[in-house]
C-alpha cells in the first residue's frame, strides 16, 4: 500500500514536469536578450517588438484567425447535427457508414487527409470549375471536415449522458421535434457547443500538414510560416510568438473552466430545488 501511495504521486509529478518543462523553457527564453535562444544573456522584450514588425507573420496570423473562426462556426453546426444523428437516430440506412465517416477523421494520418482533399479539389476544379484555384476557401473546407468529427464526438457523448426523458416529456406535451431541439436539447448541451467551437478553432489554428497540401500561392497560414522558419533553426521571434499563443490558450482555458464550473454548480442547485419541489 505504501509503495503505491509513493509511486502514483511521483509518476504524476514527473509526468506534469515532462508536459510543462518544454513550454516553460519556451516562455523563459522568449525574454532572452541573446539571439542564441538557449544561452541566457539578460532580460529583454525586444523579440516581441520584432514580432510586431514582421509583416509575414502578422499577415499569416490574420489568415489563420479568419480561417479558424469560419471553420469553428461551420464545424459546430455540422458536427452538432452529426453528433445528434448518431446519438438519437438509432436506425437509418447507411448508419454504419455514417458513424465510420464521422469517427475516422479523428485518427486518419494528416498526410492522407491532406493529399486526398487536394486531389479532390483539383478534380473538382477540372470538372466543375469550382473551387477556382486553392487557398483560403479550400483550407477552410478541409478544416471543417476534420473539425466537425471532433465536435460530433463531443456532442454525441454529451447527448448520451443527457436525460432523454426531458425530450420525451416535451414530445408528449405536443412540441414539434424541431422546437424540442432548439428550446430544450440545444440549451442543455450549450457547454459542449462552446467546447466544440473552441476545440475546432485551435485545431484549425494548429494545422500545418493539411493546410500545406490544400493551400495555394499567397495563402500561407501561421503554422506554414512557423514551420518554414523553424526548419532553419531556433529563432527567438518564434519563442515570443509561442509565448503569446500559450498565454491566449491558458487564459481561454481558465475562463471556460470557471464558466463551466459555475454552470455545473447552477445546474446542481436547480436539480436540488426541483427535487425539493417534488418532495413538497
Amino acid at each position: 500500500m505504501n509503495q503505491r501511495r509513493f509511486f502514483v504521486p511521483t509518476a504524476m509529478v514527473l509526468g506534469f514536469v515532462f508536459l510543462y518543462a518544454p513550454i516553460v523553457s519556451l516562455i523563459v527564453f522568449s525574454f532572452n536578450k541573446s539571439k542564441l535562444v538557449t544561452v541566457w544573456a539578460g532580460f529583454s522584450t525586444q523579440w516581441y517588438g520584432a514580432l510586431l514588425q514582421n509583416d509575414q507573420i502578422l499577415q499569416a496570423a490574420w489568415v489563420s484567425l479568419r480561417i479558424a473562426t469560419l471553420n469553428a462556426t461551420a464545424a459546430v453546426v455540422l458536427g452538432t447535427i452529426a453528433g445528434f444523428v448518431i446519438a438519437r437516430f438509432r436506425r437509418f440506412r447507411g448508419r454504419t457508414l455514417f458513424t465510420g465517416m464521422v469517427m475516422a477523421p479523428l485518427v486518419m494520418p494528416e498526410v492522407i487527409t491532406g493529399l486526398s482533399l487536394l486531389l479532390l479539389f483539383v478534380a473538382m476544379e477540372a470538372a466543375l470549375g469550382w473551387p477556382a484555384g486553392r487557398g483560403f476557401l479550400t483550407i477552410t473546407i478541409a478544416h471543417i471536415t476534420f473539425s466537425m468529427a471532433y465536435v460530433a464526438v463531443i456532442i454525441q457523448s454529451r447527448l448520451s449522458d443527457m436525460d432523454e426523458s426531458i425530450e420525451e416529456a416535451a414530445l408528449d406535451l405536443g412540441a414539434r421535434p424541431a422546437k424540442i431541439f432548439f428550446q430544450i436539447t440545444l440549451p442543455i448541451i450549450a457547454p459542449a457547443l462552446v467546447a466544440g467551437w473552441l476545440l475546432s478553432f485551435t485545431l484549425s489554428l494548429d494545422d500545418l500538414v493539411i493546410a500545406s497540401f490544400v493551400s495555394g500561392p499567397g495563402s500561407s497560414t501561421l503554422p506554414m510560416v512557423i514551420f518554414s522558419k523553424v526548419r532553419l533553426g531556433v529563432s527567438p521571434e518564434i519563442n515570443a510568438l509561442a509565448t503569446i499563443l500559450v498565454a491566449v490558450v491558458a487564459i481561454g482555458t481558465i475562463i471556460s473552466g470557471i464558466f463551466l464550473a459555475r454552470q455545473r454548480r447552477a445546474r446542481e442547485r436547480d436539480m436540488q430545488m426541483a427535487k425539493a419541489d417534488i418532495a413538497d
Partner: protein, 334 residues
C-alpha cells in the same frame, strides 16, 4: 404536487383533442392530414441526416476514391501531373488504362518497405511508452479528490490546446548540441563533449510520446473514473493484496480505455510528418515524410497516392478496431 400532475393532465387533454379533430373531420380528411404530417416529419429527419452525410461523402469518402484512381495513373509533365485513366476512341469505345506500375515501384524499392516498417516500429514503441507514462497519471487523476480532478484534467488538456508545432519546436531548444540539456550536463561536469540528441530516432520517440500523451491520458481517465471501487474493496476483503488487485481487477477492466488511447496514439503516429521532419535526422525514415517529399519535392502525384493507399491498407485493421471500440463504448453508455 402541481408540477408533477401537469404533464399527465396536458397529455390527456391533447389526446382527447386529437380524437375530437378526427371525429369532426371525418376519416378521410384525418388520414390525409396525418399522412402529410408524417411525410413532413420524414422529410425533416432525412434532411437532418442528409446534410452531414453529404458533406462527409463529398469531402471524406470521395477523395479516397480519387486517390485510388490517381494511384493507378501515370506521371505526366502536365497540369495536373498525371494521365487520365480512361478516354474515348472515336466516341464509341471507352478505353480504360490502369497502371499498377506505382505499386510495383513501391514493392521493388526497399526505401518504401523500410519506411513502412520503421514507421510502425516507431509508432508502436512510442505507444507503449505513452501508456507507461500516461497510465499512472490517468490513474492518479481518477483517484484524486473530485474538486482537484477538474484542475488536474485541465492541466493535461492545456498543452494539448497549445500549438502542436510549437511544442515540438520547444524540444529543439532542449535537445540540440548547445541546448538546455547539454548546457546543464556540461556545466555540472557530467559530460565533456555534448551528447548528440537532435536528429536522432531518440528525439523522434521523445517528440511522439510528448505530443500524443494527452490522447492517451484522456480516454484512460474516462475509463478509470467509472471503475466501480466496490470491486476493489471486495478484492481486499477477500485478502487480495492491492498490487494483485490492480493487475487482476483494475487493469483488465481498463482494457477499453487502453485500447482507445493506444489507437489514438498509434494510428496518427504511423503517418506522422512534423515530428520526424523537425526532430529526426535524414536517416529517420517515416512514411509520412516520404509521402510529403514524393508530393512536394518530386511532384510525383501518382506515387504519392500509391504511398497513401498502401498506408491506408496498413492502418485499416487498427482503424476498424478503434471504431468498433468507440461504437461499443457509445452503446454501453446509452
Amino acid at each position: 404536487m402541481s408540477t408533477r400532475g401537469a404533464p399527465a393532465l396536458t397529455k390527456g387533454v391533447n389526446r382527447t383533442a386529437s380524437t375530437a379533430v378526427k371525429r369532426i373531420s371525418g376519416f378521410g380528411l384525418g388520414a390525409v392530414w396525418h399522412g402529410l404530417r408524417r411525410r413532413f416529419r420524414g422529410l425533416g429527419r432525412a434532411s437532418v441526416i442528409g446534410i452531414p452525410y453529404l458533406w462527409l461523402l463529398a469531402f471524406f469518402l470521395i477523395p479516397f476514391v480519387i486517390v485510388l484512381k490517381i494511384s493507378l495513373a501515370e506521371t505526366e509533365i502536365a497540369q495536373p501531373p498525371y494521365t487520365s485513366l480512361w478516354y474515348w476512341i472515336e466516341h464509341k469505345y471507352l478505353n480504360i488504362r490502369l497502371n499498377l506500375g506505382n505499386y510495383q515501384y513501391l514493392i521493388q524499392d526497399s526505401l518504401y518497405w523500410t519506411a513502412y516498417l520503421n514507421s510502425v516500429k516507431i509508432a508502436a514503441v512510442s505507444t507503449v511508452f505513452c501508456l507507461l507514462v500516461g497510465y499512472p497519471i490517468a490513474y492518479g487523476i481518477a483517484r484524486a479528490r473530485p474538486d482537484r480532478r477538474i484542475l488536474l484534467l485541465m492541466l493535461v488538456i492545456l498543452p494539448f490546446w497549445t500549438s502542436f508545432l510549437i511544442r515540438v519546436y520547444a524540444w529543439i531548444g532542449i535537445l540540440k548540441t548547445n541546448g538546455l540539456i547539454n548546457n546543464a550536463l556540461m556545466a555540472l561536469g557530467i559530460v565533456d563533449t555534448p551528447l548528440v540528441m537532435m536528429q536522432t530516432d531518440f528525439a523522434v520517440y521523445l517528440g511522439i510520446v510528448y505530443s500524443y500523451l494527452p490522447f492517451m491520458i484522456l480516454p484512460l481517465y474516462a475509463n478509470l473514473e467509472k471503475l466501480d471501487l466496490t470491486l476493489l474493496e471486495a478484492a481486499a476483503d477477500l485478502g487480495c493484496r492491492p498490487s494483485k488487485a490492480f493487475f487482476r481487477v483494475t487493469l483488465p477492466l481498463s482494457m477499453p480505455g487502453i485500447l482507445a488511447g493506444s489507437m489514438l496514439v498509434f494510428i496518427p503516429a504511423v503517418g506522422e510528418f512534423v515530428i520526424p521532419a523537425l526532430l529526426g535526422g535524414p536517416d529517420t525514415l517515416m512514411i509520412g515524410r516520404i509521402l510529403w517529399d514524393e508530393f512536394f519535392a518530386n511532384r510525383d502525384w501518382p506515387v504519392a497516392s500509391a504511398v497513401a493507399i498502401a498506408l491506408l491498407l496498413l492502418l485499416v485493421i487498427p482503424i476498424v478496431l478503434f471504431q468498433y471500440n468507440q461504437a461499443r463504448a457509445a452503446e454501453a453508455k446509452s
